[in-house]
Symmetry: C2
Subunit: 137 residues, 2 copies
């Protein structure tokens, strides 16, 4: 650590604040080896540099897109080893996109089914409910 990097080191609290990733989650990512072990202060508190913050932000964005941690791990490995091609990344992402589309289709089916059943309900204060009827028989 040189003087310049010391200046830019931040605590886990600041890191969490800036990336929007929970402190506990940051420690969890470290534990499972998704992010490297950070520097420590003399007392033992974690200290992160901008590079590590960038890495965490990347993970956050991938998570928001619904990627599994294992897939993110794969992305990071490829990037770290500078051993990836756009075709390869695009392929993984394309498959993920298909999964998302499949999920949307599934949910739409459920939505339709729910809507349909609810439309058959009288919504009265009586114990005759089409929704329950349909599902129970």
């Amino acid at each position: 650590m040189n003087r310049a990097s010391e200046k830019t080191l931040i605590t886990i609290g600041k890191l969490s604040e800036r990336t929007g990733v929970n402190i506990e989650t940051v420690r969890y990512y470290e534990k499972i080896g998704l992010i490297p072990k950070p520097y420590r202060s003399e007392g033992g508190n974690r200290l992160y540099n901008p590079e590590q913050a960038k890495r965490l932000a990347f993970i956050k964005r991938c998570r928001e897109l619904g990627f599994h941690l294992d897939t993110i791990r794969e992305f990071l490995k490829l990037v770290d080893e500078k051993n990836f091609t756009c075709a390869e990344i695009a392929d993984i992402s394309q498959r993920h996109l298909e999964n998302i589309r499949a999920k949307i289709r599934d949910l739409k089916k459920i939505e339709l089914h729910m809507k349909d059943m609810l439309s058959q309900c009288n919504k009265n204060n009586t114990p005759d409910c089409a929704f329950i009827e349909i599902l129970f028989t």
Copy 2:
């Protein structure tokens, strides 16, 4: 147990087969009190009657619609106690429908974002990937 009911009792394997619910899952539902404890054979094997099979099928259908076990538990309690109104059931279901719609909206946003990023990829066998670029910076 009378002679008639004895005839219709089925093992957990048959129950699983007929309802499409995994054997382990049936035992899990029993453990968490979602389904009542079944009869047992002299040797100790579980035996189910049609009523219990119907209950399990109801749970299965609710799960397929994405209801949480806690909600299903609530449904069953209301039905068991014959203490429900259509309005009440419809209300719970309506809220669930809203959740499903919210999920669909979220997934559609992700789909769009993914599609957009992927369209910027050159898909070459080179390590310059728009997808990674966008997420890393």
